[in-house]
Assembly symmetry: C2
């Protein structure tokens, strides 16, 4: 049978990143491509103890159907943590446990978007979110991302110029892929503009707790007097991603509709992973565990930046992240980093070309993304050195 796919899905292809990830599974390959957290810190022994106890003592809780909203004590604990860490505490909000942070974005897209509606995004942005919007046939309008976030004036112009601009999707803290953090002033201006025009903000903050330099900046959700912000969070980068446990904190009406969509999608998030995330926080000190991750990522990030500074051609600029997992590099006009990525694959070094993160993925792009969280120190140095010498040859020409 020749399948005719729906208009919204017909053009969708798998993430180019995930194809590169398949290469990255080869132990001979130095992968600066992934977005995986460092596995050496996973609290696997603590989780083993909890899992065993729960399955023996709480068989019904851990193995029977649960409610779509998520395990109630985990929702409560997440609410408390958001209040304490991020100043997010509106009585008009509710929390939905999601199967990873990604599911929250997809559920909002399904609940809000008709085909042809506009979603405004930072450019570059997270491909998982861009594809979620594309998969409902949304029109994407990109705003160039600056070192301190998107320009609020361009945001307002984009809202006015695009038909049915319903959502602004933004990663204000340690952006993926750029590693940048939006300034407090811009966050406030962005919030005001979206409130004025009735645009829903999706604030995606999977990396917010991974700050290793600089000062905390208030989340946009903490400013949300009008109830226009849906805040997507995740335990993937602070406990473990394979568990697939995330959450969305948003106004009750939106959470209610998302809960209906989730019931249709996967009924509820797997119970055992939810219970592991809850019990780990109750029995151990999540903050001190996160601190170990921060220390590791600070070390790895600084190592990568130092190596870049000594190996890359001077004409290649890059961001200096204060947290998160990524460095964003710019070769300047006239280069196509997808060709360079192919060149580097032959030398067993992989990274992600910038076009992956753009609204128009087919246009040549002079940016590329590097990740420092997964590889050993030796491989970070060696990978950046190989990349640097390749770039020098290309820039010379």
């Amino acid at each position: 049978m020749d399948f005719v796919f729906s208009d919204k899905m017909a053009k969708m292809k798998g993430s180019a990143i995930r194809e590169i990830f398949k290469l990255a599974g080869d132990p001979n390959v130095i992968s600066l491509a992934g977005g995986n957290p460092a596995p050496e810190l996973f609290p696997n022994k603590e989780l083993a103890k909890i899992a065993s106890e729960l399955l023996v003592n709480e068989p019904v809780l851990s193995l029977q159907y649960g409610v779509t909203e998520g395990y109630a004590p985990l929702r409560e604990l997440t609410k408390e943590r958001l209040a304490k860490k991020e100043g997010i505490s509106s009585p008009d909000d509710d929390i939905l446990i999601t199967t990873g942070g990604q599911q929250g974005i997809e559920l909002i897209a399904k609940c809000i978007l008709n085909e042809g509606d506009t979603v405004i995004v930072e450019e570059p942005s997270f491909i998982g979110a861009l594809n979620a919007f594309r998969s409902f046939n949304a029109h994407l309008a990109g705003i160039p991302l600056e070192d301190d976030g998107i320009d609020p004036q361009i945001l307002e112009k984009t809202i006015l110029e695009n038909k049915n601009a319903k959502i602004l999707y933004i990663i204000p803290t340690f952006q993926n892929p750029a590693g940048t953090t939006t300034s407090l002033e811009k966050r406030m201006a962005i919030y005001d503009i979206c409130a004025k025009h009735g645009v829903l903000i999706i604030e995606d903050n999977p990396y917010g707790e991974l700050r290793f330099d600089g000062e905390h900046v208030a989340t946009i959700k903490s400013m949300d007097k009008e109830g226009i912000v849906a805040y997507c969070g995740s335990f993937s980068k602070i406990i473990a991603p394979g568990l697939r446990v995330g959450f969305c904190c948003a106004p009750k009406a939106l959470i209610g509709k998302m809960t209906v969509a989730k019931q249709i999608g996967d009924v509820h998030t797997s119970m055992l992973p939810q219970l592991l995330v809850y019990e780990f926080q109750k029995r151990y000190d999540l903050d001190s565990y996160i601190q170990k991750n921060r220390d590791l990522y600070r070390h790895k990030c600084h190592l990568m930046l130092d190596t870049i500074d000594s190996c890359f051609p001077e004409s290649v600029s890059h961001t200096r992240p204060q947290g998160g997992l990524f460095v964003w590099c710019d070769m300047g006009e006239g280069y196509d980093t997808s060709l360079i990525a192919k060149e580097c694959v032959k030398k067993n070094v992989v990274f992600v070309p910038g076009s992956t993160f753009m609204v128009d993925m087919d246009k040549p792009c002079h940016y590329f993304r590097l990740n420092y969280s997964t590889m050993s120190d030796e491989k970070i140095i060696k990978g950046v050195e190989i990349l640097g010498s390749t770039l020098k040859e290309i820039v010379k020409k």
Copy 2:
């Protein structure tokens, strides 16, 4: 902010069943409403041992990001089991691990349906599937379900009379809610008609392994020479539902597109539950575990049928399932079982009125569904007795 929801989601409400389930949590309530498997047989101690070992010895495998397609050894094992148990073994098919069987249905709907396309369904049918199709603004065309399945002639007429009839959704074995099994003859006729008209069949078979009486009937997927059948299965009813591990076996082109949609939806199914489902099958005898479930359900089903036969008014007819979890009762024209359900709630007995499973949920319906898998023997007897005396009063009037 007043949220304006997408056209496809605006009218969607939570499943009425799940509201009834909330009542069912009260220990004073006798719930014949749920669809939960019997928790007393969950292999929790075996799973505890496996979980503990995996988390200690395989931290990266169990906690790092996995691939969207699912854990490769579990896909392979599922393929082998399908070949052995169901004669499903086309080289043109592939397997996607899903977050419960429900996700497979939702992914197919997203990949295939444009708004307004027709999905043909048995009437009554599983509300989770009906809602998945509704949530993409599909038009539902119902075909009355007979004791041996839908009438193939009506199926062909329905395909011809409805615009863009793209999918037939069918639960041929131990149907939810009706408990009926489609005959081999009708399965063959249904397959031929769908092949002739290029209609994709979703064969949903979560209960197929729970046969406790009668003889096995070949799956429609086992007849699938043309590659028109997507077979959705689940480990929910044969290991444990809270794990949320299911699968879809379908032609490679469809699985490829579903994989893209799943990557956008939840990246991948949680690793630990996938590993538990795989290792349980490798280390223990799944078939003998399923046999225990069959024996339990045979006992409970016969107990319920015997009690119904002695307590219900003669004018109320019912199905005699040979497997699965449900009995479907018919009061005959002129009754509205949603009113009777409300009456019974006052007497602490809950069941699901038939309207829940119909294309038009607002029309009065003279059917209702009873479940026998969850309650103790005493509660099954007491619940059916209370329900019987209530029905006798109503029928008398």
